[in-house]
């Protein structure tokens, strides 16, 4: 087996007595679509925060390819191709969609420190940003201010921003959160259409979507990984049912 693109070893994190990550061991091979599922409070977003450097683990290591990135700043991890989106829209409200994505493209290309040349001189970057928006069917809305975009379009812009960084690994934190069911299909179709070179891990609660788009599933419960497997394995596992039936009583 080849080296996984992203892996963690014995990752632990606690806030006081609350354990949010317990001996997390995962290894994501190239190009696989992973779903990360589990009841609320299982530590799914925490795991993404740990892997992207927004949180520091108490112990353990994170490897991108063969490089230990445990101590790197979030932006340094992005530069190496480990990129995330946010569950709650985290965008640039007053920038247009095109400006936002062009910004991400320019940061990736290392042009961002340049102050003496005006933006029209960066035609390739602007075209690339526009193409990304078009690929997510945001082409007609490229010149609109982010805050004017419909909610579903803002979710797509989240993904557009991450694509502009040319990720190897993309961690999507509930990409369809707050999007009506009929629109979330389209959104996941867009995600499924992304390059096969990109390894994707997404958090999602809708099991229909999970079983349709994930090639493998990781189940988390109270900070630890319960099990990992193909959708069929997960669907037939009695422990998973118990977790989800138990979780259903909270509603």
């Amino acid at each position: 087996m080849t080296t996984p693109v992203l892996s963690t070893h014995k990752l632990n994190k606690s806030f006081g007595s609350l354990v949010v990550a317990r001996d997390i061991e995962i290894a994501l091979p190239r190009g696989v679509r992973y779903a990360l599922i589990g009841p609320n409070g299982a530590g799914k977003t925490t795991l993404i925060n740990l892997m992207t450097g927004m949180l520091r683990p108490d112990t353990g290591a994170i490897l991108l390819g063969e490089e230990d990135i445990t101590k790197l700043e979030p932006q340094a991890r992005v530069k190496r191709g480990l990129v995330r989106t946010f569950q709650i829209n985290s965008l640039f409200p007053d920038l247009s969609a095109l400006e936002s994505v062009t910004l991400a493209v320019l940061e990736r290309r290392g042009d961002a420190p340049v102050w003496w040349r005006e933006l029209p001189a960066y035609r390739e970057a602007a075209d690339e940003a526009y193409d990304i928006l078009k690929s997510l069917s945001l082409g007609d809305h490229a010149y609109r201010t982010t805050r004017e975009l419909a909610y579903g379009q803002q979710r797509l812009l989240e993904i557009a921003l991450s694509l502009a960084t040319k990720p190897h690994v993309l961690l999507l934190d509930e990409p369809a959160a707050g999007v009506p069911k009929e629109e979330s299909e389209g959104l996941f179709a867009a995600i499924a259409g992304l390059s096969g070179d990109i390894t994707i891990l997404f958090i999602e609660h809708d099991m229909d979507v999970v079983f349709r788009f994930a090639s493998r599933i990781i189940v988390m419960v109270s900070g630890g990984i319960l099990l990992e497997g193909t959708p069929q394995e997960i669907a037939s596992d009695p422990r998973v049912r118990e977790v989800y039936l138990g979780g259903a009583h909270h509603g």
Binding site: V78, L98, V114, L119, R123, A126, L161
Partner: protein, 332 residues
């Protein structure tokens, strides 16, 4: 902005239209020549306004574009003022080199402090900038042997600009000089704002967490713009020292730091012209009101400030922009 109206616009054309000089802008700069004709006896006020506008522009670059609130920006204005004054006293009175020296000194101290400034946000950051302001003020106060302390720096003598234009009593040269420097710095700032770096700054202002998630090193950007901003503040201070041929502790005190924030908020931060407009309103109002009652001129200023932040969150320019947008989108 109507998306349909923009159909057929390429991304490059879009960015070009963003960076284009508007007729209103050109009219603004032409109007800057009016004082020569309309108020030839008030040119020293006009020169003070141009200098203050430059100072407000320097603050706009960090506050309006990168979202860094500073309550100690006068420190760099003052460093520039003292640097220019001392340069003329101990080196020579040539204005251009003196001015560059002022910007260099302020930028150097700004660069050193940028490493602290880039690490913090919100109230902590405001307190740090306030503290830097107090520190520099007290250093200038204590170094009486060098700065003249509360007596002010005496003996500043300027040579003519290009060895030809004398600094006259009426302020013809003073205003021309200040206006020229303001314009040059404005053009460069405008270019900066429309550059990739300027876009990144707006990204930091809009959402600095997200900047890290697209791989941007926000701290490096902040260090850079803070250094640029402080150097420009130093240029403004240097201009004041050179055109008035004196430097007082007033050029470096908290009041000046607070005033410039007020001007920028009044005019509208993050719009380049906000600081210029704010400086004009503030300086003219001070000139007029303090003529009526020198003690209470902050009273109408306070009223205006409260009214603007309550009803026009984007400042006067922000309010005007919203009005014109509504007018353009009116149902026909």
């Amino acid at each position: 902005m109507d998306a349909a109206a923009r159909a057929g616009v390429t991304p490059q054309q879009y960015f070009r239209s963003q960076a284009r000089w508007t007729p209103l802008e050109i009219a603004f700069w032409l109007a800057a020549f009016l004082p020569f004709i309309l108020f030839p006896t008030h040119l020293s006020l006009a020169s003070q306004i141009a200098i203050t506008a430059l100072f407000a522009l320097s603050l706009d670059l960090i506050l309006g574009y990168a979202g860094i609130v500073s309550l100690g920006h006068a420190a760099f204005f003052g460093i520039g003022a003292y640097a220019a004054g001392l340069f003329s006293k101990y080196v020579w009175g040539e204005p251009i080199t003196g001015l560059l020296f002022a910007g260099f000194c302020a930028g150097l101290v700004g660069f050193a402090s940028s490493f602290i400034v880039a690490r913090f946000k919100h109230l902590t950051l405001i307190m740090i900038t306030l503290g830097i302001g107090f520190l520099v003020h007290e250093v200038a106060n204590a170094a009486h042997w060098l700065t003249g302390g509360t007596d002010g720096l005496q003996g500043v003598r300027m040579w003519p600009i290009f060895n030809y234009f004398n600094f006259d009593l009426w302020g013809y040269t003073g205003y021309s000089y200040a206006l020229a420097v303001l314009f040059i710095v404005f053009v460069l700032s405008r270019r900066l704002i429309n550059s990739p770096f300027g876009l990144s700054l707006r990204g930091i202002r809009e959402n600095s967490t997200r900047m890290a998630a697209i791989g941007a090193d926000s701290r490096a950007h902040i260090r850079k713009i803070y250094t640029i901003s402080t150097a420009i503040a130093g240029l403004a201070g240097g201009l004041l020292a050179q055109t008035t041929e004196t430097v007082s502790l007033g050029s470096i005190d908290f009041q000046r730091s607070a005033d410039v924030v007020v001007m920028l908020v009044l005019g509208g931060a993050g719009r380049l012209y906000g600081g210029l407009l704010g400086a004009i309103i503030f300086m003219v109002a001070r000139d007029q009101f303090s003529g009526i009652n020198p003690q209470f001129w902050y009273f109408p200023m306070g009223l205006l400030l409260v009214a603007v932040v309550m009803f026009l969150p984007g400042g006067i320019l922000g309010g005007l922009a919203r009005l014109t947008a509504r007018w353009r989108n009116r149902p026909s």
